[in-house]
């Protein structure tokens, strides 16, 4: 699935009659606002409910500390039956994020996605990849390898990336 073409098909669902997916997204938004997960926030871009931006703050004690990461979240029209698509718009040195910013996260996979999951859960899991990268299911094997064999060097590099590209 090509993820680079974000600007291409910006769909504008009708606002007068909200579809079930729209209703669901609104509900999740209200939920997110009352009980926001730590170090992150998210909201719709403009008045398009299906296109969100999330901001993740690099958690303390990780090489991503001090970084601010912007992510695009796109909900499919048949949400929640299909998972949202999440792409990093900020460069990050991480074994689970590839060169185009696509995230390798289990729950975002079509096969493992469950309609019971919510955007709050997605944000929570996204945040946890900062603290616990998963080198066994990498998007970038090189980084995963370095993470396993030389953690110090990996963290130094990741911190350098944070300083340069995520400030």
């Amino acid at each position: 699935m090509n993820s680079g073409s974000l600007s291409g098909g910006r769909s504008w669902p009708s606002r007068t009659s909200l579809t079930s997916s729209g209703k669901r997204i609104q509900k999740e938004m209200a939920e997110l606002n009352t009980d926001p997960p730590a170090d992150c926030s998210a909201g719709p871009k403009g008045d398009n409910l299906y296109h969100w931006v999330a901001t993740l703050f690099g958690p303390q004690g990780t090489p991503y500390e001090g970084g601010i990461y912007f992510l695009d979240i796109t909900f499919p029209t048949n949400y929640p039956y299909k998972p949202p698509k999440v792409v990093f718009k900020t460069r990050i040195y991480h074994c689970n994020v590839d060169s185009s910013g696509n995230v390798g996260l289990d729950i975002l996979d079509e096969n493992s996605w469950s309609p019971a999951l919510t955007i709050s859960k997605v944000l929570h899991d996204l945040r946890s990849i900062f603290t616990n990268p998963n080198p066994y299911k990498p998007r970038v094997p090189g980084i995963a390898h370095l993470f396993l064999v030389d953690r110090v060097k990996h963290n130094a590099l990741a911190a350098e990336w944070t300083q340069r590209f995520a400030k």
Binding site: S3, G4, L6, N33, P36, S41, A42, G43, P44, K45, G46, D47, W52, V53, T55, I68, F70, V87, F88, K89, T90, R91, I92, Y93, H94, V97, D98, S99, S100, G101, P138, R139, V140, P141, G142, I143, A144, H145, L146, L157, E160, W161, R164, F165, A166, K167
Partner: protein, 536 residues
């Protein structure tokens, strides 16, 4: 106490009195009240060039040939002639003296244009410390250029823009810098700013601020490009860490499934669009988000605030482009952001815009303002001179009147503020001049508002063309006795009988001498009427 203001009295006073501390330059400048360019030679016979400006040290008069091919440089000299009669003060000037050549000596002429490029006659910057001049030539604009190779959509393209660095002493071209298929706003030097030896060039098409240094040796050296990346070695770093990642891959191919996707290695496929925010946008967005975070203490309020102020406008922020830049000092840039439409349209007033202060050493955004920001306006009102950064070398550049150093200019600003019907519209109107055009103001003492009063609609220190009226422009003493000291009248002495044609005037004032050129042009390609205003 009764004080005489004639020049003898002033010289005598200068001998016997020490001026109050810190006012010696102001006192010396008052002599300009006595020495004024009150005589005019109308329609002087002169070469048919476009006269651009006097350099800020007054050493050179820059002009271009009408066909935009050659640069012609003159040295302003003082008129000298002999007169046989007695009482020659009342005599008219001898015909031989009434020539362009008696005021200006031609130093040289250099061809700058090439087969396809022409000189941009609106562009000229002067590096005073080493007497270098920066000129530009370019090919014609292509308006519907396709946006390829990372260029943004909607900005025209110029096939080739060349900046020429010249030693003005002898006209030798020292260095050149070429931009290809790019767009740099050259009118009134808008897209380029010179501060000491640092040059900022805004590539509108590729959204980069190129920082160059003019070395004493006469070479133009690239220091950094701000836009896609922030630090000068970011790109190198990205490439080299991509290499180390792949070398790790090679060492351990058996452990890992091979994956060609290497984080950050977009550079190998320049045709593909970069999926990430550019360096400067990342800085800008994180500055805004941090600002909202720290502004709101209450969590629920903060979430609402982020939603309304940040996420809702996120795409608008992402779509902003760099319009214009100026240096505030050696490290800080004032950057104006706006929409693509506003960048190329002549009337930028109606388009929303933002200002950011960026530190290029720490690569941080220091401040971000809306176009109608009260805070930025009050900074501008109080500290206008911090926006006008003069070169360090010449003292007289510090005396250009602004509302921060001149009470009369401040009064004028205040009165138009009080007259304004909407305060936010007024702020917008005032701040539209930011960032300032580089070297756009004449340091001539005759524009010093503590010395003279004049109609700013007709003439001012700001270098631009104005519509001509048939009335002479009056310069009136600011201090008592408020008398008319001299007049500047562009165009032919008798005036123009044909009132239908629109006439445009420009004025070139020498920075220190009582010498000025007024150039009046009609819209048709008739030769301009050049008058020389000087002190007899």
């Amino acid at each position: 106490m009764f004080r005489r203001h004639n020049i003898t009295a002033r010289i005598f006073e200068r001998q016997i009195r020490t001026p109050s501390p810190g006012t010696s330059v102001h006192c010396a400048r008052r002599f300009y009240e006595n020495i004024v360019p009150g005589s005019t030679i109308y329609d002087v016979e002169c070469p048919d060039h476009s006269f651009r400006k006097f350099t800020e040290d007054g050493k050179y008069l820059i002009s271009f040939s009408r066909d935009h091919q050659d640069l012609i440089v003159y040295r302003p000299t003082w008129l000298s002639f002999s007169c046989k009669q007695e009482d020659c003060d009342s005599q008219d000037l001898p015909v031989k003296a009434k020539k362009f050549e008696s005021f200006f000596t031609r130093l040289y002429s250099v061809p700058l244009a090439s087969a396809s490029e022409l000189i941009c006659k609106d562009f000229f910057l002067y590096a005073e410390t080493n007497q270098f001049g920066l000129f530009a030539t370019s090919t014609a604009q292509i308006y519907d250029a396709p946006a390829t190779g990372g260029a943004i959509q909607g900005v025209p393209s110029i096939e080739k823009i060349t900046f020429h660095l010249l030693r003005l002493e002898d006209g030798v071209v020292l260095d050149e810098r070429v931009f290809r298929n790019d767009y740099i706003n050259l009118a009134h030097s808008m897209g380029v700013f010179l501060f000491d030896d640092l040059l900022a060039i805004v590539s509108l098409r590729y959204q980069r601020i190129h920082i160059l240094q003019i070395r004493d040796s006469g070479s133009l050296v690239d220091l950094r490009a701000i836009g896609e990346f922030c630090r000068e070695d970011d790109e190198l770093f990205l490439n080299s860490s991509a290499q180390t990642i792949s070398s790790v891959d090679k060492r351990a191919p058996e452990h890992m499934p091979m994956n060609n996707a290497v984080n950050g290695l977009h550079l190998e496929q320049p045709a593909q669009e970069n999926p990430f925010l550019t360096g400067i946008k990342q800085r800008l967005l994180s500055f805004i988000v941090r600002g909202i975070q720290s502004e709101e203490k209450d969590e629920a309020m903060r979430i609402q605030s982020l939603k309304k102020k940040f996420y809702f406008h996120f795409q608008d922020y992402v779509d902003l482009i760099i319009w214009k830049v100026q240096f505030l000092d050696r490290h800080h840039l004032l950057i104006k952001f706006g929409s693509v439409d506003g960048a190329v349209s002549r009337n930028t007033d109606s388009h929303p815009a933002f200002f950011a202060v960026y530190n290029m050493e720490s690569t941080e955004i220091i401040a971000f303002y809306q176009m109608s920001s009260d805070e930025l306006y009050s900074l501008f009102e109080q500290f206008c001179d911090h926006f006008h950064v003069p070169s360090k070398s010449s003292l007289h550049m510090n005396f250009i009147s602004s509302h921060s150093n001149n009470i009369h200019a401040l009064e004028q600003l205040r009165s138009s503020k009080n007259k304004a019907t909407s305060f936010s519209l007024f702020i917008k109107k005032v701040l539209v001049s930011l960032p300032f055009n580089c070297q756009s103001q004449s340091p001539s003492p005759y524009f010093d508002q503590s010395l003279f009063r004049f109609d700013e609609k007709l003439i001012s220190a700001v270098d631009r063309h104005r519509q001509s009226t048939d009335h002479p422009i009056k310069f009136i003493l600011r201090r008592p006795p408020h008398t008319l000291k001299f007049k500047i009248k562009p165009g032919p002495e008798a005036g123009v009988t044909d009132c239908r044609t629109k006439r445009i005037s420009s004025f070139l004032f020498h920075p220190t001498l009582p010498l000025a050129l007024s150039i009046q042009q009609t819209l048709f390609l008739q030769p301009a009427v050049v008058n020389i205003h000087f002190r007899r």
